[in-house]
Symmetry: C2
Amino acid sequence: MSAITIMNTPLAVPGFLASAASAGLKKNGKKDVALIYAPQGAQISAVFTQSQVVAAPVIVSKEHASDQSASALIMNAGNANACTGEQGMQAALRSCEAAAEALGIATDEVLVASTGVIGVELAVSRIIDSIEPLVGSLSAQGEALEEVARAIMTTDLAVKIASATVEVGEKTYTMTGIAKGSGMMAPNMATVICCVLTDAPLTKEALKAIFGQAIDESLNCMTVDGDTSTNDTAILMSSGLGLYDTRIEDGDPGYSDIEMAITTICVELARAIARDGEGATKLVNVYVSGAATSADARTVALEIGNSPLVKTALFGNDANWGRVAMAAGKAGVAFDQSKMAITFGGIDVCKDGTAVGFDEDEALAALDREEVDVHVDLGAGECCAHIWTCDFSYDYVKINGEYRS
Amino acid sequence: MSAITIMNTPLAVPGFLASAASAGLKKNGKKDVALIYAPQGAQISAVFTQSQVVAAPVIVSKEHASDQSASALIMNAGNANACTGEQGMQAALRSCEAAAEALGIATDEVLVASTGVIGVELAVSRIIDSIEPLVGSLSAQGEALEEVARAIMTTDLAVKIASATVEVGEKTYTMTGIAKGSGMMAPNMATVICCVLTDAPLTKEALKAIFGQAIDESLNCMTVDGDTSTNDTAILMSSGLGLYDTRIEDGDPGYSDIEMAITTICVELARAIARDGEGATKLVNVYVSGAATSADARTVALEIGNSPLVKTALFGNDANWGRVAMAAGKAGVAFDQSKMAITFGGIDVCKDGTAVGFDEDEALAALDREEVDVHVDLGAGECCAHIWTCDFSYDYVKINGEYRS
């Protein structure tokens, strides 16, 4: 009997208000700015891109997040505010200042995250002008979080949101996560704007431990195109210490369930991002087993998940396992090719490193689905990994050959 | 005054005969097997794929090449003979045996190289049956080498061949290189079947040193899709010691010119492979300067050259330099983003890490060419690198979504 309930409907999280508005950054006039506000404050854990080229909002948020506390998060789509130099730094700071002033809190209590085109000056006045409507429409409803998730979409086709509840004794805690994709997606300790809210009264240490683990098992196991963004930002915010007279640390009742719920939400968001990868026609689960170490397994799985030849074959519903063998082989991980086994959609296609006779029509049917599994066993040990990716279609080229113009 | 002449017409190389034939491995009936034979023998240097998944012909050729001598090379397209287990090993060996018997030489004097689909049993009887016509049609003409280059093509659209002559005193030496592309192309110490023939009487030590250097500066600086083949094989063969009463070692007259000619041929082949990358509409030169080390420069250049987002932008003639900055940033190389500069086709688009105003029409015109340059200066040192790649088009997806079926 688990006390965890996972659901796709966006649940409101006690202690958090949210709103979205249009600042005119998206060309189509859709909502493109969003605000999350915790009136009683929040303890947080945040992770950011490991790139050497770091967007201004990442630099500002890193500093504001250093004390693991924040009361607000302002986000925008339509402009990444990356490679924008000193002007970009001022724009990110002024966004925080404007939100802080309107909310009556300190500037370093405001985090900022941006996504969109790189290298274009951010029209910060548009964001500042949108603060008033954002603050004026703050809502405690779950639907407001869905509006936030929709506002930060760029080339995403689907809203990415997941909720869970966890019963701990007589108390029920809630967690809701939102995220955006869907290109420049090979997170390295974070992805472009993922935010998980909860009222579970976790300590700062617990938040850090749980979120580190959750991100490692979810967004860091997902790739769309192997390209890591300049803006990757993932934040876990907890309002609980401001709401309740209790606190939860490692070892306390409910800690494990809360950890599992937050990890599950992050996995759901990672799967949603991969499924909605630019141009994707299917979600691909790559499982690697029989590796000497877990790191080896993940390295091989990501090589397979990032291989253009594997991804185009999956687009073509072609059980071209030789390409999977190629990708595994180039990962720089030691194994004996004569012990390698591969299945596509549960169908054995390679055993002992060589072909297994299989029915091509059956294989095509197994691959012509919205979600497909590729499993490689290296025969080199007991460790395994699971990563999420997508196929590589004409539309990826279309979307990215025409994106900026 | 250089004594080196580079040309695109295929020159015959004294001491080598060549032929091509159809063994029925290509579905369209085109020539698909080829033989190169040095009646007086040859000294060689060979490099092979670094993959853990290694094709049978690579395993066999590695062994036969271990004494740095060989008299013949038999090649086929249409089947890579990779992931084919013990049957594949027997097929590769029997191909060598059949050629050796027909030519009256030892089996370990024959090298073998295959390219094509992975994981399908090789119909070795077809190759054995083609030995007689191959041996019967051996020719000393340059045109025969062009036929060989054509026979090993798979998804290649263009024949890849380059020749050079080097004057050393009163003697003129010749070198002709052939290669094939054009997918699964991110060589790591070699590429799928590249063969350079010369009559320059180089010692084994000289051959190894020159070819190691030449490959490092050419095929190892080229990428089409970041996918490394199971079959990568590059061989330099010299007939000179069997033909002439002289030998050339490091420090001897002509050594440097010969080294430069062989390197130039390998660079020409690498450029030809990138230009003819699957679905490519343009050859892309990625230059990285201002790096702290040469290794850093190459790492950043390859990250840029392998980035799907950069490659699709180039296909769309979009000077989307933010993606170049992103790719540089994720390379794991330290630099200060505020010192980064980027040009597209000679047009400044980013300085001091931020946008430079440029004319979009001018940039589009600079990118809408058969060969374009992307230059990144990291501002972190004095080292640089140059790699060759191509753009990423609808046709890459078409070719690879439909390849095996």
